[in-house]
């Protein structure tokens, strides 16, 4: 038996799992997106395109643009916050490296929803933060943190930050430290060494992090629901409302399919870039 055949068998459980519990449900969502809701509120499979014409109603364009805007802001903030953390741990973590990574990951053992509720309690007008600021005399009346777009983006950053840090950390770990030494030996200032050596070497980590943060952030509904105000309605909230409030599963499914297709475009862009990098690192901007 060849090695390949030997190892292929172990794909079976995982493959079956993905097929039954991932691919089949997605196909059902796809099928239901051509369905309708009957008089008793039951979703019925059919072959209508009505849900798709509804999905492209101009009414939803601002919702989509808002979701993309929030997700982009989230990715940028995660990058600015996450890169230095990943860099510090990878370069200067020393023996405590694994401990530091564990500390980063531990908060993510707690469900995202619960953590977001904690944020509400922390940031509310009479919450812990505002009370503390009042006690030390910095402010007189509570600052409005929650129910703003900033709170929604903040919640998203908090929710997805670790997905930025880990791939960047991995790419920094993979990088040969001697490259940085070489840059310094050539009398590069630290900022120039970083820009011309470290950054290009970790480009794939950054890209992977951005994709891992951006894609789920576009479809997120928890942050906007708990931390948002009247004007922070996101695509995720729109879809969730179709399933749980409007009893309109077919329309919710159509919106889901449209969003998946839309996000796939971004994903494809990332895969192409990764493939180019793997084939030809120099042309792709690497060293």
């Amino acid at each position: 038996m060849s090695d390949r055949a030997f190892w292929s068998r172990f794909l079976l459980p995982g493959g079956l799992w993905l097929l039954l519990l991932f691919a089949v449900p997605i196909c059902l969502v796809l099928a239901l997106s051509f369905g309708y809701t009957d008089d008793l509120g039951r979703a019925v499979y059919s072959n209508t395109l009505a849900n798709y014409t509804d999905a492209f109603d101009p009414l939803y364009i601002p919702v989509l643009l808002r979701s993309i805007g929030y997700a982009l802001a989230t990715a940028v903030l995660c990058l600015l916050l996450g890169y230095p953390i990943a860099y510090y741990i990878a370069r200067y973590g020393g023996r405590r490296k694994h401990l530091l990574i564990a500390l980063l990951v531990i908060p993510f053992f707690v469900n995202y929803l619960v953590r977001t509720y904690a944020w509400v309690a922390l940031l509310a007008d009479e919450g812990l933060l505002n009370s503390a600021l009042k006690d030390v005399g910095l402010i007189d009346t509570g600052i409005q943190f929650v129910n703003t777009p900033y709170a929604v983006i903040g919640g998203l950053v908090y929710g997805y930050l670790v997905f930025m840090i880990l791939p960047i950390y991995a790419s920094l770990e993979r990088m040969d430290g001697a490259l940085i030494e070489a840059g310094k030996d050539l009398f590069g200032k630290p900022s120039r060494v970083f820009l011309h050596v470290t950054l290009p070497q970790t480009k794939q980590g950054i890209l992977a992090g951005c994709v891992l943060v951006f894609l789920p952030a576009v479809g997120d509904f928890v942050s906007a629901q708990l931390l948002g105000g009247p004007d922070t309605y996101m695509v995720g909230n729109l879809i969730q409302d179709q399933f749980f409030a409007a009893s309109n599963w077919p329309f919710g499914s159509a919106l889901t399919v449209v969003m998946m297709l839309f996000l796939s475009i971004w994903m494809l862009g990332y895969l192409r870039s990764a493939a180019r990098e793997a084939r030809d690192p120099v042309a792709a901007g690497g060293v």
């Binding site: 239901l32 499979y45 409302d241 990764a274």
Partner: protein
Amino acid sequence: MSPLDPRLSRRQLFRAGAGGALGLYGLGALGGCTVERPIDKPESTAPIKPEIDGDILLYNWAQYMDPAIKQGFSDKYGVEVNEINFDNLEAMVTKLRAGGQYDIIWPSTEYAYRLHQEGLLHRFDRASLSNADGISSFYDGGWWDPENEYTVPYAYYTTGIAWRNDIVSGMTGSWNDLTNPDGAGKMFILDDFQEAIGEANLINGWDLNTADPNELDVSKQTLLDQKEFARGISTNSTQNLVNGTAVIHQAWNGDIVNVRNQVDNPEDFSYETCKEGVPVGSDLMCIPITARSPGTALKFMDWVIQPDNAAQNVMWNGYPQPVDGGKQAFASLVKDEPSIDVNLEALGDGGMEYRLDNPDDRALWNQVWTEVKAS
């Protein structure tokens, strides 16, 4: 191996695509089917009798029934009373339609009506319950159950306005109080399409359940104006009031009970119902046809509305129960703020129920609400 493996040739991609297309064609055979497989219905349609016929499984909202009520029944009749929970009605109904075997469920009036229309509820004679006389007359012949043969009321709630009386003054007992200037930027509307459109309809003098597109258009504008004024759209009314983010909140009366239990200054929190109309919502108990022990289930319902049990349950969960014992317990629970206790029988024509049993009307309301939230 890069993510775009060159070994995955065009031919393979083509084959994968063809397989997918075949799969889709297979899905086409689903046309006309509902998402859930139709469940087997029993042939007998005779009403069930309250008699012990086995253990029961309750499918209820979480934290909605005092465990001691279940334990008491279990001890008295020697059967097990188990409970699992749902967190929204849509999920509950989906599982039920897929054949879930529950002995008692807790739907709202509209869901009870729909489930009955689908033939998913057991029929029984409400008069066969020994405590039937204690049920509020409000639940005698409701539109969702004209003959009193599918439902027993569990709890009810009214929709009104909760506010901070230490910050907001000049409340007038009207839905227009939502935009009392003292609450600018700190007002919340409930994130519920019926409650939101409902209050707007009442403000404009329409029927609570109007489906007239022109009237709904005006109500939509009312909501858009309120949205400008609001801090948010949320059903976390208890939390929003407790943590000081809301000073005016469209709210259910059970929420304000919870708020007052959680804060150091309960006297600062008031609640009013509004003169234009008081929406009343109800949670009912029903027995699905998939029940394993419908007889025990009916007997358990009787146990729940027994006055001493109802009183104990109300003290535990804080929601008014529209039966003897439950009513008195709730009144004593909120004696410091009597406005929270709404007398159903005294409401008369002011008491209103949401009723969108026409699917087109329901779709229209949902559309209006989506437009309000998305724009």
